[in-house]
Symmetry: D2
Subunit: 294 residues, 4 copies
C-alpha cells in the first residue's frame, strides 16, 4: 500500500519503521525534518506539508501530540484532507478527544474519504518492536482497507465499533484505568510503608498473586523506586487525558468519581512542581498526605 505518516515523535518513528518493514511505500511529514533522516535512509519519501503528503496515498496515518496538532495537520488549506483522495482512509492514532474525532469523522464523510480512529496501547519500545496494541473503530470497510497497516504496527488489533469516536473513548478509558492503578498503588504503598512493610514487598505480593499484569508491574516499580521522577509519560499529558475522559463522560452524562479524585491529584501535582515528572508522580502525593518525606 501507499502510506503517508505524519508525526515523527518517539511513537511515530517506531511505527514508521514497521510500516517500511512490512513492505509498504511510505511518505513522511514532521514539523522538523531532522527526525525523518533515518527513515529517508531506509527508503521513505519526504513531503513538505500534510496536504502534499496526502496526495496519492491509500492511507494516511497521524500520530501527533494532541487535539490542536491533529486538527492542524488535518484541516485547513495545507491539511491532509485537502490533499486526500476520496477513497483513501485517514488512520488517527493519537489519544485525542471524543469530540474532535467525531468532528473529523464528519469532515471525512463530507469529503468522501474515511476515518479510522486507532489509538494504541504501549510505549515507544513497543512501537519500535511492532508490539503495540491497537484499538480501532470506524466503518468496517474502512478498517478492512487499512488492516495491513494496522497489523504492521501492532501485535494485536481490537475492533471496538463502527464509529471512530468509540475507539477514542476506549483509549481514554484505558488511560483512566491506568491512572486508577497509580492512585490505588500510591495509597496502598503509603499505608504499607507506615505499617513497616516495604512497598517493594507489597508489590511483590500483589504482582505475585491476582494483580499479575504489566500495569501493576510497570507502575509498581515506578512508584516504589522513585522512577516517577523521570517523565516516561509526563504528568501534564496524564492531566490532559484525565480532562478528556471527564469531558467524554460528561458528554454522555456518566459520573466518574475515581476520575474526579485523580483530577484533583493532577491539578495539585501541577501546583506543587511535578509538571516535569511522570504522571505516576501523583503517587508521591499520597505519601506526602501520610506525612512521609518525598
Amino acid at each position: 500500500m501507499k502510506v503517508g505518516l505524519i508525526g515523527l515523535g518517539s511513537m511515530g518513528v517506531g511505527i514508521a519503521h514497521n510500516i517500511l518493514r512490512a513492505g509498504h511505500s511510505l511518505t513522511v511529514f514532521n514539523r522538523s525534518k531532522e527526525k525523518a533522516a533515518p527513515l529517508l535512509a531506509e527508503g521513505a519519501a519526504w513531503a513538505d506539508s500534510p496536504r502534499a503528503l496526502a496526495a496519492g496515498q491509500d492511507a494516511v496515518l497521524t500520530m501527533v501530540a494532541d487535539d490542536n496538532a491533529l486538527q492542524a495537520v488535518t484541516l485547513g488549506e495545507d491539511g491532509l484532507l485537502a490533499g486526500l483522495a476520496q477513497n483513501a482512509v485517514h488512520i488517527s492514532m493519537s489519544t485525542v478527544s471524543q469530540a474532535l474525532v467525531a468532528s473529523l469523522a464528519a469532515a471525512h464523510a463530507r469529503h468522501g474519504s474515511g476515518l479510522v480512529s486507532a489509538p494504541v496501547f504501549g510505549r515507544p519500545d513497543a512501537a519500535a518492536a511492532g508490539k503495540l496494541f491497537v484499538a480501532a473503530a470506524g466503518k468496517p470497510a474502512h478498517i478492512d482497507q487499512v488492516r495491513p497497516v494496522l497489523e504492521a504496527v501492532g501485535q494485536k488489533l481490537f475492533e471496538v465499533g463502527d464509529q471512530p469516536e468509540q475507539a477514542a473513548v476506549v483509549k481514554l478509558i484505558g488511560n483512566f484505568l491506568i491512572s486508577c492503578v497509580i492512585e490505588g498503588l500510591g495509597e496502598g504503598a503509603a499505608l504499607a510503608e507506615k505499617t513497616g512493610v516495604a512497598p517493594e514487598k507489597l508489590m511483590e505480593v500483589l504482582t505475585g498473586t491476582i494483580f499479575g499484569a504489566p500495569v501493576y508491574q510497570i507502575y509498581g516499580k515506578l512508584i516504589t523506586t522513585g522512577g516517577y521522577k523521570n517523565p516516561g509519560f509526563a504528568l501534564p499529558l496524564g492531566a490532559k487525558d484525565n480532562r478528556l475522559v471527564l469531558q467524554a463522560a460528561e458528554a454522555h452524562n456518566v459520573p466518574l468519581p475515581f476520575a474526579s479524585v485523580v483530577r484533583d491529584r493532577f491539578v495539585r501535582g501541577m501546583a506543587q512542581g511535578l509538571a516535569g515528572a511522570d504522571w505516576s508522580a501523583i503517587a508521591s502525593l499520597a505519601r506526602e498526605d501520610a506525612g512521609l518525606n518525598n
Copy 2:
C-alpha cells in the same frame, strides 16, 4: 506436625483437606459439627472446644468469619489460648483488623506462645486445590515452625514482616485494591456502554493488553455478565474489609481517598438493597448513576 484447625467454612474445609493430604495429624473444631463429617472420615479428629482442640498441638490454625469470631475462639475460658502449649504457634488466616491482630500478638507473647498472621488470597476453589497465596507475618522463628503447614495450604508464601499485624494490613490493602478495580471497571464500563461500546468488548481490550491479570478477568466478567448478583464474596463482607482498611489507615494517619469513595458505594449498596449481592455489585451503582437500567 500435630495441627488443630478452627473454622470449617468454605475456605477452612479446603485448607483442612490439604493439611491432611500433606500428612499432618489434624484435629478440627467448628460451631456446627456436620461440616466436619467428611474430614473425620478422612482421619481428622474432633474437639469439643477451641481450648480442648489446642491442647497438645504444635500449631493451631484459625479461619473464622471476623474479628468477633476470632476473638471468641482465641480468648476466654474456652478459647484456644487457654489450651495452647507455650511453644506452640497460632496461625490466624482470617481477614481481620490490624488492631485485633496486634492485641492477640500481645496475648500470645504473655502466654509464651507465638502468633503468625497469615491471611490468604484466593477463593474457595483455590483453597480446595491448595492453590492459595499466603501472606505471613510474625517472628521468623514462629514462621519457620509452621512453614510446613503454610506450604501445605498455599501455592506461594510471602513473608511480609516480623510483626503479625503487618500481614493483616497487607491483606487489607490487597482487598482495598480489588475494590478499586471493581469501582474503576464499573465506571469505565458505564462510559463504554453509553458510548455504544459493549462492556465485554472493553474488557477484551483491557485484559488483552496491559490489564491481563486475574483480578481484571474475574471482576470484569462479574460486572459485564451480571454475575455480581450472586454473592461469591458478599457485599457486607466487602464493606467490612473497607471499614478495616480505613481503620488501619487512620491508626497510621494515612488518608485513602479511593477507599473513601468505595466506602460511600458500599454504604449506598446496603441502603439500596444490595446486601445479598456480591461486593462487585457496587459496579451497578456506577451504571445507575449514568442513567442505565439495572
Copy 3:
C-alpha cells in the same frame, strides 16, 4: 448617563427598570422584542442590534445567558464593540468564564474602551427591587465611571480587584459555595430523616443557631419541601457554573475536591432526568443514596 442594556431575561428586565428609575437614559436590545414593550412604555428606546445600541452610550450593560451569548453580542460585525465609543465602558453582569472575561478585557483594551465585570448575587425578585449585590472588578477609573449604574441596580457594591476576571472568579466561588451548602444540607437531611428527625426540624435548629443566613434558609426550604422540583435556577445552569469554577481553578492549579463531588452529582442528575429541576435537586440524590424514596 446614557446607558444601553442588552439581554431582557428575568434578571435584565428588573435591572432595566431600576436604571430608568434612577433617571438615566436607557436603550435596550434583546433577541425578541416583545420583552422590551413595558420598558419602551416607560421611556426606554429600542436598538436593532448590539452595535446600533452601543453607539453614543456612556455605558453598555450586558446580562445574557452564557459565554456564547456574551461573545455573540460583544464581538463580530454587529457586536457592541463595533459601535462603542472609545471612552465608554462595558458592564458585563452575566456569570461567565474567567477566560472569556480576560479575552473581552483584552479586546476592549485594544479598542480603547473599558470593561467592568460586575456579576450579581440575587434572584429576579432582588433584581426587580434593585436589591442585588454587585461584585465588580476592573480599572478603578472604569468602575468610577459607571458607579451610578452599578448603584442603581444593587443594594451593595463590592469592588474586588482591578482585573475584570477577578469578579468573574469571585462570582463562581460564590456559586460554588452555594452548591456546597446544597450538597451538605442534602446529606445531613438524609441522615436526619433516617434517624427519625424531620428534616424541617433539622433546618430549624441550623438556621436558629449559627447557620442563620439566607443561603441556608432558602436552600433548606427547597430541599425539605420538595421545592427543588421547580427550576428557580435550573440544574443545567448549576452544572455549567460548576464546570466554569473547575476550569478557572484548573487554570490557576487549584484543586477543589468539594467541587469535584458536586460535579459528579450534577452529571448524575443530568443522567437521571433532573435536567428540568432546580440545581438544589442534587440533594435528592443524597436521599436516593440512603435508600429513601423520592
Copy 4:
C-alpha cells in the same frame, strides 16, 4: 431544683454558673477539684464521686470530653447511675456517639430513671453567658422535668425528638456542616488568592451577601487570618466528631461523600503535624494543594 453537674471544663464551668444564677441547688464533681473552687465559693456543693453526686438530685447534668469519659462517669460501681433516684433525669450535654447515647438510654430505662440528650451549640463564651443553643431529645415527660435547667443554660431550646440519640445525631450533623463550611471556604479562599483576590475581600463579599451567618464569619476569619493555628476546637476533636457522624451515618446506611472528603483532610492533618491546631486548619491543606506556602 436539686441539680448535680459532672465535668468542669471550660464549657461545664460556664453552665454551672448559670445553673446557680437561676437559683437551683448545685452539687459538682470533676476529676480535679481545683476547677470547682469558684463555684464552691458561690454556694455549690462538692461530691467525691459521680455516684455520691447523683444521690438525691432531681437532675444530673454531664459535660465531659468524649464517649469514654461519659461511659466512665455514668456506669460502673461509682457511676452516677448507681446513685441516681429512679424518678431523676440525666441530662447529657457532651457531643458523643449515637450508639453510646442509645445504650445509656437503655440503661436508664432499666434503672427507672430518664435520659435527655441535650448537646449544645456554642463556644465557652456562650456557655458563660448562658447563650448556648440546646438541642434536646428524650421522652417529653423527661424534657419537661428538666426544662428549667435547659433554659437556664441556653438562649434557645430545640426539641428534636423523643429518642435521646436523635439529639446526638442532630449535633453531629451540625458539626459536620461546620466542617463543610471550613472545607468549602478553604478551597474558595485558595482559588481567590491565586486569582489575586485577597481572601479577606472574598469573605467580605460572602458574609455581606447571602452567607451572612456566624459560621461564615467565625471560620472565614480563622482561615484568612491564620487564627486556625490556635486550637479553639482542636483538630483531633474535629476528627473525632467526623468519625462519629460517619459511624452514625453508616449505622443508618447513609453515604456522606462530603464527610468522606473532610475525613481525608483530618487524617492528613494528623499526619502532617496539625494535631495541635484548630480544626479549621484543614483549610490550610487546600492552600498547600494549590502550591501556596503556609
